[in-house]
Structures are given as C-alpha cells and as structure tokens.
C-alpha cells in the first residue's frame, strides 16, 4: 500500500491526485497528502506518473506498512526506470512483446 509521499522531493504538480484510480490523495498546502491509505489498491501506478519519484508504494496489499525514508531511497524511481516510462523510454525499451517467447520456452522446458 501507499507508504510515502516525500514533500521535500515533490514539486506539487498534482498529477498523482488526478491519476490515482482509488482517489487516495488530497491536495494539501503545496503538496498532496495521503488521505485514504486504506483505499490504496497497491497498483504502483502513482510511482509511474510521478516525475520526481517522490512516491513509494510498499508491496503489502493487506495492511499499511511504515517505511524508513533512508532505507527505501535506493528503490525510489526504480519501477519507473525499469518500465521505461516517460523520459526513460529510450534507455529502457518496453520488452513486453517477448512474453510469447517466454511462455513457449516454459512449455518446452
């Protein structure tokens, strides 16, 4: 579930408020606040849409988890990078099209 929105990284663009499918965020004073943690569906999509990597989602989908900002710091932006989202597209191409070949190799294994 949504675990962190670091206001010291966030630029206040408001995109996460708009795109979260579960309407988890409210716009606060300058930066959004996590207003409805329990509604979070752990989809990681706010991380994709956040250009500053201010958001961190913990993989536990059953209950909120408290995270340590220092500890998660190396993980910030990794999902967006690996997805080749936005400006990352050229360097990290979307290899999803290789799924068929992977399934075929599993069948042959």
């Amino acid at each position: 579930m949504i675990a962190d929105l670091d206001p010291s990284i966030c630029n206040g663009c408001g995109v996460c408020v708009q795109i979260c499918p579960a309407n988890v965020f409210d716009m606060g004073a300058g930066t959004p606040v996590i207003a409805r943690t329990d509604d979070c569906q752990t989809c990681f999509l706010c991380e994709l849409y956040c250009e500053t990597d201010a958001i961190y989602v913990d993989p536990d989908c059953e209950a909120p988890v408290a995270v340590d900002r220092e500890q998660i710091s190396p993980l910030r932006g990794k999902f967006r990078r690996e997805s080749g989202w936005g400006e990352q597209a050229a360097e990290h191409p979307n290899l999803h099209w290789r799924m068929d070949e992977i399934f075929r190799r599993a069948r042959e294994a």
Binding site: V17, Q18, I19, C20, P21, A22, N23, D39, C40, Q41, T42, C43, F44, L45, L48, Y49, D58, P59, D60, C61, E62, I72, L75, K78, F79, E82, S83, G84, W85, H92, P93, N94, L95, H96, W97, R98, M99, D100, I102, F103, R105, A106, R107, A109
Partner: protein, 514 residues
C-alpha cells in the same frame, strides 16, 4: 446536493479497456459521447496493471482460425459459441494495428508484435485515442444508478464527481455498461474499482446475467502481495513448509493442486528454472512482477518465497450481464454491455477466458456496443430507479468486506463447492444484503453502492452455483464431481431481492456452420 445535468447521445460507464473502445467506436459514428470513470481513465481497471495478450490468429490459411476455435470450443465444455469466437478473433485482428499511433508495437524481422500490450502503456494509449477521437472523459466520477424512461428503456444515469463532491445526472440516448468484473474484495491486482457495480445497476433496471456460477478462478501470488502476474510461474516449482517438493506441474490443473496444498499448510514457490537470460530481461518485460520482490529483498530465482491464491471472481471467471443481440444489447432497451461487465460464456464457456479471449472480447464487445448505442441517439425523459436509502447503518464497511471475503475467497469454500457450504455462504450473504440494501454503510454514496454491488454479485454467484448440480470447468462440486450431459446449458440469473435462476437452452452456432 444539487445536481449538474449533462446531455449526450451515448454514455459509457467505466473507462477500462472495453469502455475506451466503446467510447471510441461510438464517437466515430458521429455522435456525442461521455465516458464516466470511477477512477482515472488510463490507470483504472484490471487492464492497466496487467499485460493482456489478445486472441491473435491470422486469417490465412482459414484453417488456422477454424482450428483455434474448435480447440477452444472443446475446452469451453459445450457452453461457448463458435460464431462469437470467430467475431472476436476477426475484430481483434483488424483493430490492434489501428492503435499504432499511440502504442509502440515492436517489429522484428518484418513481423510486428501486436498480440500482447503492457497495461499502463496500453491504457495510456486508449486515453489518448479517446481524447483524439473526441470523447468527453469524466474521471473520478463513479456512477451510482441508471435512470429509466417510462417505457422501461434506459435514459441515462446518475453519479458524482467524487473529488468535487458534486452530484450529476447524464441524460443519454443509450448507455454502454463497461464497469468490469467483480473480485469480491480479494486484492486481485488492479481490481480495487471492480466491485460489480454494472451488474447491480443493470439487474436493478431489469437485465439478467449469465455464467454466474463460473466465478471462482484463482491466480497464484506471493503472500500479502496482489501481484498476480503469472508468466514466471509457468517455470515454477512448489514446496511444503519442510522443504519437500510438491507434485504440482504448471498447466491448467495448477490451481486445484495449489489450493489443495494450501489447505494442508504453507506453500513455497521457487523460480530457479527461469533461464538466466529471461531473469535478466524480466524487469523490462513485466516491471511490476519484479517490484514486490525487489522491495522485500527477495531474489525469487534463488530464494523460495511463500505464495497464496487470489480469487478473481468474475474477472478471469466468466459471469456477467447477458447480451441478447450482436451489438451486445441487454434485456433493457438501450442498455449495452461490454468487457468483463458482460458474460464471457459465449467466448470462453465454462473455463477462464484469461490469457487471450477476455481482452479480445473487451476490445470487440466494446466496439460493437459503442456502435449499437450510437444508433439510438434519442434522449428520453428519465426517472431514477435507485432504492430509497434511509435509517442508521447496521454494518460497517469493514464488516461487509470481511463477510464477503470470508465466504467468497477461501478455495475450501468456493473452489471445492458443496450444497451445504454454498447454502451457509448464501445465508450469510442474504443477511448482509438485508442489512445494506436500503441503509447507508459509510458516508459516501459511491462506496455504499460498490459494497451493495459486491454483496449482490456474491448472492447471484452462490445461487447459480447451487443450481448447477454437476462439475463443469471451473465450477467444481464435491457432492456432484461428475459432468452431467443434461446440464450442458447456460444458467440465467435475475432479480435483486428475490434471485431467480433459469436454464437457457439456446443453441450455439455449430462449428461446421462457420
């Protein structure tokens, strides 16, 4: 709260894969289209977090499609219809290449890979396509109820812009219901908004449902995670808590075997057989599959990790709104159904349509419904059909969610079904229904409607499962373990307070007629 009133030719409810294709097809007919979405068109719905591989069969030589349909029809155990299968294969084949301006399809040795699209990019492309085509999108705008005209045909819907706390009504000539399936609050990946709202709205307006007994498909995921991306598990080995390897082979029987093992104790998965080169590219094939492992410091190719099964309800199950013509119109005139909101019995029969059929169906039924809806145009005077809500809450949100999950999720109850257990579950769901049907639960109307919809969907599913006294496809009855040739028919479910289940003996188009 005063209501904003909008007027349009076509209203599409739900902006997932099916809803976006419906809106695009309708607007291309030259009519005005509003697409109302509970969350955000682009991130909402189960497509956005998945990576749907579509049913993708070339037209030539013609034997290819005939063979694909014959094979899939046989697996559907007599309930699918080859004619509908042929239609979705053809529509999918013609449609996906038209998305090239918005989705980057990879071309290798002169062959473009159209079949599988990654979810976040696919739904971002669908949003761009809808905007480009001229669809009016309303994000964060859950629909509560349909409105009907005096003659019983659909006249529009009411809902709210939930970030503005502004109620609205849309007067529309026709409505496409594309609200997706219902996961019974299981935390299946991407299913948070899939609470069966469309089933409840449609049945309340007089529509019926089909395939509701086939609502018990499951997918493996790491414990406490919703990550039901299953590709890597096609290499999986499974172990019990003392490290003994279990006899569970990847394939169609894996769910049943995993469920039995989980009923005995903890189950651990090991992905050591995934070849090194595939391990290396996995983050760029399915980035969300690797994210939960990364964040827990688990290397799934080296470490064994505990797994669970997530219930999929009607999502990679089958059930949904019954459609009565080629344009996917429902029994309510002017109301069309598409994607997981509609039954997938026609194209998948008694087994899951995940992996190929479902996305091909969402894309195809969406376009047929959108075009059918665009032909109606005529705006009618409306009467809201919603139930009067009054009194104090009898149950909390959490109590409702827990009750549904406890009855609908455990494989011991819902994968291995029996008359006595189904009756116990139904009794509890009936009691929950009585407590929420005309009373508030939370302070938010859209939330309460979603809770009611899921409880209603559970009741339809349990009633259908009780009626089918045999085992067929994903519907397994421990008290009727055999297939009964006399029950090779669909079950049609209707009614809100009084649920009725009727057999439907329509003949499918024979294979030879294609």
């Amino acid at each position: 709260m005063s209501r904003t009133v909008y007027s349009t030719d076509v209203l599409v409810i739900g902006g997932g894969l099916a809803g976006c294709w419906a809106a695009v097809a309708a607007v291309r007919e030259g009519v005005r289209v509003i697409l109302a979405e509970k969350g955000y068109v682009g991130t909402s719905g189960v497509t956005a977090t998945a990576g749907p591989g579509h049913w993708w069969v070339p037209p030539n030589p013609p034997e290819l499609r005939q063979k694909a349909i014959a094979e899939r029809h046989a697996r559907g155990m007599g309930l699918s219809d080859p004619q509908w299968m042929a239609r979705i294969i053809d529509t999918t084949w013609k449609t996906l290449p038209t998305l090239s301006n918005h989705y980057h399809f990879y071309t290798e040795n002169g062959v473009t890979h159209y079949r599988g699209l990654r979810g976040p990019e696919y739904m971002r492309a669908m949003r761009a396509l809808a905007i480009e085509a001229g669809v009016t999108i309303m994000d964060q705008s859950p629909i509560h109820d349909l409105t009907l005209a005096a003659d019983g045909s659909v006249a529009g819907a009411v809902g709210e812009h939930r970030q503005l706390q502004q109620a609205f009504e849309v007067k529309a000539g026709a409505v496409v219901m594309a609200t997706g399936g219902c996961a019974f609050f299981s935390h299946l990946l991407g299913s948070g908004n899939n609470t069966g709202d469309g089933y409840r709205m449609a049945v309340a307006a007089g529509a019926d449902l089909s395939g509701m007994e086939f609502t018990n498909y499951y997918t493996v995921a790491p414990v406490r995670s919703n990550m039901t991306r299953s590709m890597a598990y096609s290499f999986a080995r499974y172990f019990d808590s003392v490290g003994r390897e279990l006899d569970i082979k990847p394939g169609p029987e894996v769910n049943e075997a995993l469920a039995k093992a989980l009923m005995r104790g903890k189950v651990f998965c090991w992905l050591d057989r995934v070849p090194q080169d595939i391990q290396a590219i996995m983050p760029h094939v399915q980035p969300n599959f690797v994210a939960p492992f990364d964040r827990r410091g688990i290397n799934p190719y080296r470490d064994r990790f505990e797994v669970t099964l997530r219930g999929e309800g009607t999502i990679r199950g089958i059930g949904g709104i019954n459609v009565i013509d080629d344009a996917c119109q429902t029994r309510v005139p002017g109301l069309f159904a598409a994607g997981d909101a509609a039954t997938r019995e026609l194209i998948a029969g008694a087994v899951s349509g995940g992996g190929a059929q479902n996305s091909a169906w969402a894309l195809s039924s969406g376009q047929w419904a959108g075009r059918g809806a665009a032909r109606r145009r005529q705006i009618r005077t409306s009467e809201v059909v919603s139930m009067r809500i009054s009194g104090a809450p009898l149950l909390s949100v959490e109590e409702v969610v827990t009750a549904v999950r406890q009855e609908m999720e455990p494989p011991a109850k819902n994968m291995f079904r029996s008359d006595s257990q189904l009756r116990r579950s139904l009794q509890r769901m009936d009691a929950v229904w009585a407590a929420v049907r005309d009373r508030p639960v939370s302070s938010e109307r859209w939330r309460d409607q979603a809770l009611r919809a899921t409880v209603a969907t559970a009741r339809w599913s349990l009633n259908a499962a009780l009626t089918r006294t045999e085992s067929r496809g994903m519907h397994r009855r421990t008290d009727f373990p055999a297939l009964d040739p006399h029950q090779a028919h669909r079950l049609i479910v209707s009614g809100m307070d009084q649920v009725a289940v009727c057999p439907h003996f329509a003949l499918a188009t024979p294979l030879e007629a294609l």
